[in-house]
Amino acid sequence: MALGALSTSGEAAVVARGLTKRFGDLVAVDGIDLDIRRGEVFGFLGPNGAGKTTTIRMLCGIMDATAGEARVLGFDVRSQREPLKARIGYMSQRASLYADLTVVEQLDFYARVYGLDARTRQEKVGGWIESSGLAGRERDMVATLSGGWRQRLALGCAIMHHPDLLLLDEPTSGVDPLSRRQFWDLIYRFADEGTTVMVTTHYMDEAEHCDRLAFIYGGRIVAEGAPEEIKRAHLPGDLLAVTAPEWMRALEASRALPYVRDAALYGTTLHLLVADAETAVPALARDLAAAGVRVDSIAPIVPTLEDIFVTLTGDIPGGGPDG
């Protein structure tokens, strides 16, 4: 499909058709289509090396596509880079912060890069320090900030120019649970104000927070839709949760059973994928007892996105080379 036809749609924040990136023989992104509506929180999921970062870099106009096209906020990523950059905010996995600047200096630096005048800069910097909870740390050196604070500062740098689209590449990686929640509160605030957000994450609980999701695997989109739709469409069977005091032994015994298609640990609970829950529950109770494994409970459950992730991508643990 020609992109020219799509560019008239005011509703789309991102439209990509056949977007492809090759590095030598390696196809990092293999002809993907994406449609992200304005105001959406869109989650982009996949194993390490699936092509997430490469896709985001192409959408930001900082990496050329080998083939295909993309229009972001109505701008062609190849030919209209400069106006595009003025309207998007990008936070990379390793956000480039200057270790020897203070929090305020850092924000002010980015505000200058985006060409804001002195008064707007002051307003924006002060506003972010207030709303992100960085108050009291204005004069701290970036080098001394812990992970959660650093991420909040990096997000601030990415939004100084009030972008219409935020591209966040693993913004909460390695951040503690409380800081993660606070970070998501900030993301929602932008979304509620109308900013479109595209975010990659390895936390499947965060993925549940998104309006829509795409799973990329081996450079291709393998599932797309609202979290609920994806869960309905992509689990080949029923899911059971099993709790057992000796969960490692229970895991091994379950894996040996022919009707258990997949067995995985969530914390200390086992999730088993079976063809049919009704017949599998009594069979499991019998077979685990026969194997000498004590079981506290076996119950059918609604799948989580992590179950789906494992199903969609579990066949090559470790993933491929980085894309």
Binding site: D176, L178, M204
Partner: protein
């Protein structure tokens, strides 16, 4: 009768200051052999500083610690042979292959020449990196790189592992695989001390230590940790979620509220009295409540609650 085995780690009043900042503040802890001990706590709580002192690469300002029988301050050489330390950014050589990296670390740790080949083969098989042995480290995905770093950490067959957030930035499938490798090691007798920001990982440890502001505030098995939480958790399914959260947070009875997967988790002092208030408030706001129940606290709920309690 045999004497009980010595603990793998004995820490007494261990402290480390950086100028006026007490990064680690009088930590006392004993870890038994063959434990998988998890360290949790907010960013900046002191987990990394503690692990670095136990690894003998940072001197304590006070107190003492013995790790795998070696005094961290007085016996650095013995310590280095006994432990494997994997820091957050493990320095693999990007321009060496997987196999070459293993050989490099084998030489650093003076693995006898006769054993190098067999250990390398074993670690390649064990880490499932065999098919990638000729790949340059820089071409590996995040999950594979962490597995290679672990394999390099194991080349001298340490009795105890110190792992600093080894699975950060690693996808769920690779994370699982990394942990199954850790369990294999643990079953063969290796003690593991691991800092992690993932509460599902902490849930699988034999015991957990919660650090905050340099102090080790609480040590317990995961189930024991959950008992320490003050208050109860209400789990709510209501759409639109974000608006429901805003309404719930506005109630005085709600201590903390957050989106938890596809549900809302609210911590309240007493579920029975809070439930009707929450239900009424949501209905007043025109938000239909699909389900509302008292949920067992997850370790993540406990983490949030402990942080609140610690900050008070």
């Amino acid at each position: 009768m045999r004497a009980p085995p010595e603990p793998a780690v004995v820490i007494q009043d261990l402290s480390r200051s950086f100028g006026p900042v007490k990064a680690v503040d009088r930590v006392t802890l004993s870890v038994a052999q063959r434990e998988v001990f998890g360290l949790i706590g907010p960013d900046g709580a002191g987990k990394t500083t503690l692990l670095r002192m136990l690894a003998g690469i940072l001197n304590p300002s006070g107190g003492r610690a013995t790790v795998a029988g070696a005094d961290v301050h007085a016996q650095p050489e013995l310590l280095r042979r006994q432990i494997g330390y994997m820091p957050q950014s493990f320095s693999l050589y990007r321009d060496l292959t997987v196999r070459e990296n293993l050989h490099f670390f084998a030489e650093i740790y003076q693995v006898p020449g006769g054993e190098m080949a067999s250990r390398t083969e074993r670690l390649l098989a064990f880490s499932r990196l065999g098919p990638f042995e000729r790949s340059l480290a820089e071409h590996l995905s995040g999950g594979m790189r962490q597995k290679l770093a672990l394999a390099c950490t194991l080349i001298h067959e340490p009795r105890l592992l110190l792992l600093d957030e080894p699975t950060t930035g690693v996808d769920p499938v690779s994370r699982r695989e990394f942990w199954s490798i850790l369990y294999d090691l643990n079953r063969q007798g290796t003690t593991v001390l691991v800092a992690t920001p993932y509460m599902d990982e902490a849930d699988r440890c034999t015991r957990i230590g919660f650090m905050f502001g340099g102090r080790l505030l609480s040590v317990a098995p995961p189930a024991g940790m959950k008992v320490q939480m003050q208050g109860e958790v209400l789990e709510i399914v209501a759409e639109p979620r974000r608006r429901a959260l805003a309404v719930a947070r506005g109630l005085e009875v709600v201590r903390t509220g957050s989106i938890f997967g596809d549900t809302l988790h609210l911590t309240v002092p007493d579920a029975a009295s809070a439930e009707p208030q929450v239900r009424a408030a949501l209905e007043r706001a025109g938000i239909p409540v699909r389900s509302l129940r008292v949920a067992p606290a997850s370790l993540e709920d406990v983490f949030i609650a402990l942080m609140g309690q610690a900050a008070r």
